[in-house]
């Protein structure tokens, strides 16, 4: 694997510099009872790249994302993050290590405003105690304002300033997706996981979202791993693609390599059984 691409990174066709490996999945196997959701999969995610995970329905993509974000603990294999083997940990501990994500079905806090939702992304940076906050003095107030500034930059970046005080429950679907992205970005993650960021969107919204994903990667240098069904989007956005089918990895490489992989074509178009 390692000799295919140099360990210290490479430069993409459009001139972006991709760094070393941030996260490496080694021989991951995940079972639910007798069902094997992921079977012996290995791949890596490099710093600064947009890494797509694709595959037909039920291929195990979301399970893979859940392994990365700590929801599922695989029965076999290891996750190596920033050069160290990651012990089994709770999702909130994974989040504190700098991995943020969005969900396939939006998982925003419906009762809170957009601003409060984005501010929840900053929670890992806010650690004044209960008593200090109850008084709203010095340190806790300063902390609130500092983090508000970061949150406002993200809000500005994703062009949702005008709805910042609106309760999320009142927003249309496309905007909710964007707010969820804002919340994940507010955490300034090392790796951003996007679970079907364009699901259920029309063409215009998809274009907007694609632009934001590229901008995020470009502007903040955020490493992004995403699951997506829209092949056009995946091929345009991503630097490298992992293809899964029935829990196995059937392809891994640049969009062009994957597009011409016979096994991938078979998985997507079906094979004549005769």
């Amino acid at each position: 694997m390692m000799d295919a691409q140099p360990a210290e990174g490479f430069v993409t066709a459009d001139g972006r510099k991709i760094g070393g490996v941030v996260m490496e999945m080694k021989n991951i196997t995940l079972r639910f009872g007798g069902v094997v959701a992921i079977k012996d999969i290995s791949f890596d995610i490099r710093e600064g790249e947009i890494r797509a995970i694709i595959g037909p329905n039920g291929a195990g993509k979301s399970s893979m994302l859940n392994v990365i974000s700590g929801f599922y603990v695989p029965q076999e294999g290891e996750v190596i993050y920033k050069g160290q083997k990651r012990p089994p940990m709770k999702p909130y501990e994974v989040a504190r290590q700098g991995i943020a994500r969005t969900f396939q079905n939006i998982a925003l806090f419906e009762g809170m405003t957009v601003l409060d939702n984005v501010m929840t992304g900053r929670l890992n940076y806010m650690n004044t105690g209960l008593l200090s906050q109850a008084m709203w003095w010095g340190k806790s107030q300063r902390e609130e304002i500092e983090n508000r500034e970061v949150a406002e930059k993200i809000i500005d970046f994703l062009e949702i300033q005008n709805i910042r005080k609106t309760p999320v429950a009142r927003l249309p679907y496309g905007l909710k997706k964007r707010v969820e992205l804002a919340r994940a970005l507010a955490a300034q993650p090392s790796i951003l996981l996007l679970d079907e960021p364009m699901a259920g969107m029309n063409v215009e919204e998809k274009e907007d979202m694609s632009r934001f994903i590229l901008d995020v990667n470009d502007e903040f240098g955020t490493t992004i791993a995403l699951i997506e069904h829209d092949m056009g989007v995946v091929m345009d956005l991503s630097d490298r693609v992992v293809v899964m089918d029935y829990g196995r990895k059937i392809g891994d490489g640049t969009p062009d390599e994957v597009r011409n992989n016979q096994e991938v074509i078979d998985a997507y178009l079906g094979v004549a059984h005769d």
């Binding site: 974000s69 504190r96 969900f103 998982a107 709203w136 304002i145 919340r183 955490a187």
Partner: protein, 358 residues
């Protein structure tokens, strides 16, 4: 036109995150504080203090406490009465054990004791949610009342099994005991309410409050952005119980003076406070006050109208009161699930446009 937010610009995030960002709200708040602290003590009498103002203020603290747990953090509790009893008995034990210490410190310490007990009974919330948690807190309610009835140490082995508050002073003014004057009782409660509401507001607008609300709205997503559910839920139980404990301590020491635990802090009390926050509005500081006012004032109002105004028999009126209160609660739940807070918001919206229809 009456209520305007236009032209009230903020140039810093500090200004923007203040409690009353709209000028007219701020003035209203100061006006109410001034009336409550200066005007009311001058005209207060025994009837107003014991029938209306003291219960309103003390229940408001309890409602704030339960609202933090249920309204902000989404953990339903039916143990409020039991936790109020903890506050009351802790206060009683402290008052009798350390007579020389100021009552204010006793009340705050009683809140602290209740917070610890609350955390203990909050532990099941890590495993169970919703109705099941409510039933688990019900266990706290019954266990605590039983404990205070059963173990003589808690009521200093008094013959009646009651606890009664000795006379205590603040700034050499009597605030507890039979001879304390109504304005002194009122002011001590008002001071506590003001401080507690301020604390509650500060907690709910900062990162602690966001953690609670995140757990309430979607606990899985909360965990994925780095909220430790254990810490968030237990801190909500602690803060909530602290509030409820203080309200219990005041209820016993300042308001009633003598308490028999099963009668005063029974399951009815838990439901009463729960009704307050549901009617007032879950997840709202204003709602806690509105709900407490509604539940305390309505029976007084009905009694005055039915007995005083229409000359009905007292027992008939007392029964009708219950019917009407129950009916109103149901009506509220059907017509406005978000409680009085939502009406308040609509009213402000209307006042903003008045006299123009759009």
């Amino acid at each position: 036109m009456l209520y305007r937010e236009a032209g009230d610009f903020k140039t810093s995030y500090k200004d923007d995150s203040q409690t009353f960002p709209i000028r007219i709200d701020r003035w209203g708040y100061y006006a109410i504080l001034a009336i409550a602290f200066i005007a009311v003590p001058l005209v207060i009498n025994d009837y107003w203090a014991s029938a209306v103002l003291l219960p309103f203020l003390i229940y408001a603290i309890a409602a704030l406490g339960l609202n933090i747990l249920t309204g902000f953090c989404g953990q339903v509790s039916l143990g409020t009465g039991g936790f109020m009893a903890v506050g009351a008995y802790a206060c009683y034990k402290l008052m009798t054990a350390f007579p020389e210490v100021n009552i204010v410190i006793h009340v705050i310490l009683a809140g602290g004791v209740t917070a610890c007990v609350g955390v203990l009974f909050g532990l099941p919330s890590l495993r169970i949610k919703g109705f099941y948690l409510a039933v688990a807190t019900l266990a706290a309610q019954f266990f605590l009342v039983w404990l205070f009835n059963k173990v003589g140490w808690f009521y200093n082995y008094s013959a009646s099994g009651q606890i009664s508050a000795p006379t205590r002073t603040v700034l050499s003014i009597e605030v507890t005991g039979p001879t304390a004057s109504p304005w002194a009782k009122y002011l001590i409660c008002l001071t506590f309410v003001t401080v507690m509401a301020w604390l509650a507001r500060n907690l709910t607008r900062g990162s602690v409050g966001r953690k609670w609300m995140a757990i309430r709205d979607m606990d899985i997503a909360a965990e994925i952005i780095g909220v430790n559910p254990l810490a968030a839920k237990l801190s909500a139980f602690a803060v909530s119980s602290f509030f409820v404990g203080i309200s219990g301590a005041l209820f016993f020491s300042v308001y009633l003076g003598a308490v028999e635990v099963g009668e005063v802090f029974g399951i009815q009390k838990s439901f009463l406070v729960l009704f307050m926050i549901i009617i007032g509005g879950l997840g709202s500081i204003f709602g806690s006050f509105a709900g407490a006012a509604f539940i305390v004032l309505l029976p007084v109002f009905l009694k005055n109208v039915l007995v005083g105004g229409m000359g009905w028999a007292t027992d008939l009126a007392a029964h009708l009161e219950l019917l009407i209160l129950g009916g109103l609660i149901m009506m509220f739940l059907i017509l406005e699930p978000h409680g009085l807070t939502a009406y308040w918001r609509t009213l402000k919206e209307k006042m903003r446009l008045w006299p123009f229809p759009h």
